[in-house]
């Protein structure tokens, strides 16, 4: 099987995959990073969002082999064990932005991509930008509040 190598959460990893192995399956099954979820598996729900070279992407719709040489960050990479939560994760906890939690890691990773592009987005912008992330508990109200608060906390950190 073809070999693939990439940097995941700061660590160089190697593996052997099939051509058809998706990045999300490589992360979950070979690396044991099960924080990234598979929801719809058809590019709609966003539960699988990770960062590839700093950009949010749906890891269910990217081949593991397309990640060759890439820098990948998953939810596990935001706050290593024993360190404080990332401000966005803390905001999700503070604002009770999860019910069942299945969509949460994808929501947090997309939230960081929104902050990267929009800095401190207003409510309408956050809702528009969450088009590709579905919460089937329909808990959007608190998710939107958490993203606004997380963005503000990140901006305060940089001042």
């Amino acid at each position: 099987m073809p070999a693939v190598s990439m940097t995941v959460n700061g660590r160089v990893v190697r593996g052997e995959v099939e051509g058809r192995t998706m990045l999300v399956d490589f992360l979950r099954e070979q690396l044991g990073l099960t924080g990234t979820h598979v929801g719809c598996d058809t590019t709609q729900c966003g539960a699988c969002v990770v960062h590839v070279n700093g950009l949010a992407m749906k890891s269910c719709t990217m081949l593991a082999l397309q990640g060759e040489g890439a820098e990948v960050t998953t939810i596990e990479g935001l706050a290593p064990p024993g360190t404080p939560l990332h401000p966005m994760q803390a905001a999700f906890r503070e604002h009770h932005a999860l019910q069942c939690g299945y969509c949460t890691s994808g929501m947090v990773m997309m939230a960081l991509d929104i902050v990267r592009r929009c800095r401190e987005p207003d409510e309408a912008t956050i809702r528009e930008q969450l088009k590709g992330n579905i919460c089937r508990c329909t808990g959007y109200h608190n998710i939107v509040k958490a993203i606004a608060a997380g963005a503000a906390a990140m901006a305060a950190q940089h001042r």
Binding site: R20, Q44, M57, K58, M62, Q66, N133
Partner: protein, 284 residues
Amino acid sequence: MRDFVYYHPTSLDEARRLAMQQGAMLLAGGQTLLRDMKLGRYSPTSLIDVTGIVPSQIEFLDDAVCIGAGATHAEVARSPVLLQYLPVLAALVDHIGDPAVRNRGTLGGALAANERAGDYPAACLALGATVHTTRRKVAASEFFVGEGRTVLEPGEIVTAATFPISRRAAYVKFLNPAARYAMVGVFAACGEDGTPHIVVTGARTDGAFRWEAAETALTAGFVAERLRGVRLLYENLAEDLFADAAYRAHLAEVIARKAVGLASGPAPGVMVLSHGSRAETLLA
């Protein structure tokens, strides 16, 4: 999904050669193709990844904007060249899929995929774009030949597309309530000489098309009210859980009027409508 051999060549020549093999398909961002492979629509024996080897520059040349096929939707949407010379196209691209899809999907992939409700094909047809490939230059009106189909031959790779700039152009789409693609979208553009271009996407099973009856109605003047009562023929109209043919035909007229109104107004751009959206919903 059936397994396949993945190639990531380092030159267009090598990619062309690999793509000539029986059962090979070209892969760009994969945002349509990988999904279609999961659904069993395609089962290639090899995938030739052209990421990084097709151009991705965006330039202004001879009253047109030339976009490299490798440019992602996110790159196109925030391109200073597009924002200066053809902001309607930047805004249209900024509403393809969702932000994660836009970080990965490319112009070349979107043109080759020619999805039924594609936004890019509508822009190409309405603006009179030219598609550049490794073999030739093809007018958009000849490039798209039905849903999921183009004139591309085996081993032929899209390298860029040029879009003549237009100041009187607008795109309005009404979203599917679940998946958020264009249930019906209309791109309206008025040439410098007054020639109207009305292109509808999402409505018909064979992809985006020029709505000639609407264009005829507008030849005497690019005014939204002239479209009142112009009906889309039911032939080939898509029907699904969300909209039957009559509803789509009605939407096409309503949305075409909005698009022409927007294109002839003071701030042409893109309007995205959905169930429950307010009439004033207007996005750059």
